[in-house]
């Protein structure tokens, strides 16, 4: 069956237009970040920067406490992801491999927990943290971020564990492994890709989190990058070069991780969270 020229052409043309539409904001962020100020505020936009400058990046990273924010963001994000992976892995193993009373209830419980509207609970979380005298500390952030990503991690890892053939585990146990050993030596290595892609979404959530840190941590020493970025524009007014440089710096780690891990992450997402 041969399609007409028009029939072959329009999907490609539409796709090209869509591609430009989706990429342009990202492109414009990087382009502006590298452009000299003169080009940024030119009467007609400079679509393809010819002069490249790093002055905006210098300005963005020269802000007081910049490296503190970077450090805080990294510490909080990585710890939250690691804790939630460990806790979720054992739970996912039970949910995927064991039969017990109430299993269905646990799964539904985690599904409901995944819906939790954290954005509107900040007041209660503020009171709890304040009563514990833990404001302006990284500990509550880490712990709550861990919880924000935990239900998703449990459900996704459950899909990955279920995908490992049971026979492999049984074979290991026939060969004399205990259940724990079989898990460590057989299942865990096979789960590595799943763990990586699951942690990607956790990483993104924690790296991006904004409302909670906005309420809890008013002191610069304990703030994270999203606050730095959102306050940047207010502090620097219409210095779009520096603002876009700041956005680029914030976005690059996620963009890199995502582009590399996306394919596997998506299949994990559909296999684990959506399809069960």
């Amino acid at each position: 069956m041969k399609r007409s020229l028009f029939g072959r052409l329009w999907p490609n043309v539409t796709a090209a237009v869509l591609f430009v539409g989706f990429v342009f904001p990202v492109y414009w962020m990087f382009a502006t970040a590298f452009k000299p100020t003169g080009d940024i505020i030119a009467e007609d936009p400079v679509w393809f920067p010819t002069d490249v400058t790093f002055e905006h990046f210098q300005k963005a990273t020269g802000v007081d406490h910049f490296w503190t924010y970077v450090g805080n963001s990294l510490v909080v994000t990585i710890l939250a992801v690691v804790f939630s992976l460990v806790i979720a892995l054992v739970a996912a193993f039970a949910l995927a491999r064991m039969r017990f009373r109430g299993r269905r209830g646990f799964v539904i419980g985690f599904m409901l927990a995944q819906m939790a509207p954290w954005e509107v609970m900040v007041i209660a979380m503020y009171m709890i943290v304040r009563d514990a005298s833990m404001l302006n500390s990284l500990v509550p952030l880490t712990v709550f971020y861990m919880m924000m990503i935990l239900p998703f991690t449990v459900l996704t890892l459950r899909g990955f564990v279920a995908a490992v053939p049971r026979e492999l585990e049984e074979a290991a146990m026939v060969d004399g492994c205990t259940r724990g050993q079989a898990f460590r030596r057989v299942i865990l290595p096979l789960l590595a890709p799943g763990l990586m892609s699951t942690s990607l979404f956790g990483f993104i959530t924690a790296w991006n989190e904004f409302p909670l840190v906005l309420v809890l941590n008013k002191e610069a020493e304990s703030q994270t990058l999203p606050l730095w970025l959102s306050s940047f524009q207010t502090a620097f007014g219409d210095d779009w070069g520096a603002t876009m440089a700041a956005s680029s710096l914030f976005a690059v780690p996620i963009l890199i991780l995502f582009v590399f891990l996306q394919r596997r992450a998506v299949s994990g997402l559909t296999a684990g969270a959506v399809k069960g």
């Binding site: 989706f22 054992v90 009373r101 209830g105 819906m115 509207p117 919880m147 409302p211 559909t270």
Partner: protein, 327 residues
């Protein structure tokens, strides 16, 4: 299994259902000790959920019955005031206006996301390999943009001076847009926020939908073609029924995500101009934390959660049922 064990605390809305398979009648001793194992493995996750999610939820409920403003906050006093907060919120005009606005905002966004996302997903399925990979890369870039960064970029795209959107509109002949201030009007602010959210959400729907279409067996289309079905007919009789569970689950997720979108609305314009673009989460934040009526804010938060549950109840039932069928 006949061994009864004490269950560790589980999620807040835990539904207990018996899961008895055709178990062997005589459990051996090893099985009896093994029966505890799943609960022990689930203990950390459940304890974390109760402590870090259940407690804040409960705390929020308790706060909503308290008179808690700056004074009480500083002096650490607890003043119960019954349902005064709810009375004040529910009899005020603001809350209902914000609720309607949030519902309309959610509806518009979700419809756009699902419609355009599905179309893009179907387009992906139709493209040749090279073009498909190209478009996928574009989608993934938009998807991966951190929300705070994306919001800043949109502020720059729609900036009053030197913003690229105004320049293009001006060049296209719409000269009154040359120095248009997008954040000065309610609708124009919502337009930018909607564009931002739709732009970032389409990729999730499109890529997953494309992945789902690849699992449809080709024979189904051949059979439909043999029966004389045209393109549209085979779409409605083969593609759509196959994708239905996926579409339900995705719509459900998108409703939740859009409804509680805080960062986009808050950072674009702080709920302004004149508090005209506040949606429920932003309203709860500004009333509670911004204006330091913490009790009021907590009451708004409780009502917001109830509304969210109400809106998603229909989908929640379907999605839970799908999940149960597969368990």
């Amino acid at each position: 299994m006949t061994v009864q064990t004490e269950r560790p605390p589980s999620g807040p809305a835990d539904v207990r259902k018996s899961d008895d398979g055709p178990g062997r009648p005589q459990p051996r001793a090893a099985e009896r000790t093994g029966a505890l194992a799943p609960y022990l493995l689930l203990l950390p996750a459940c304890a974390a959920t109760v402590l870090l999610l259940g407690w804040p939820l409960l705390k929020d409920l308790l706060l909503s019955f308290q008179n808690l403003n700056m004074g009480q906050l500083i002096q650490h006093v607890t003043e119960w005031n019954g349902i005064d907060n709810y009375k004040e919120v529910l009899t005020g005009e603001d809350f209902w206006r914000v609720t309607l606005r949030t519902l309309a905002f959610t509806a518009v966004n979700v419809v756009l996301i699902m419609l355009l996302g599905t179309l893009v997903g179907l387009l992906l399925a139709r493209l040749g390999k090279r073009m498909r990979v190209t478009l996928m890369i574009g989608l993934v870039l938009a998807w991966a943009m951190p929300v705070v960064a994306a919001t800043t970029v949109y502020q720059w795209l729609f900036a009053q001076r030197f913003g690229v959107v105004n320049w293009v509109l001006d060049k296209l002949g719409w000269h009154s847009m040359a120095d248009y201030s997008w954040t000065s009007g309610q609708f124009s602010t919502f337009f930018v926020v909607t564009l931002l959210i739709v732009w970032q959400s389409i990729p999730f729907v499109a890529i997953n939908l494309y992945a789902a279409t690849t699992t449809i067996p080709g024979e189904l289309y051949e059979a439909a073609a043999l029966d004389g079905a045209g393109v549209w007919k085979s779409f409605t009789t083969v593609t759509l029924p196959f994708l239905r569970p996926f579409l339900y689950a995705t719509t459900f997720l998108e409703i939740i995500w859009v409804f509680k979108a805080f960062v986009q609305v808050f950072t674009i314009n702080g709920g302004g101009p004149d508090r005209l673009t506040e949606t429920l989460p932003v309203y709860a934040y500004i009333e509670g934390v911004g204006n330091q009526h913490y009790g009021m804010g907590a009451a708004i938060a409780v009502l917001t959660i109830l509304i969210l549950l109400g809106v998603t109840a229909y989908y929640l039932r379907i999605v839970l049922k799908q999940e149960e069928d597969e368990l």
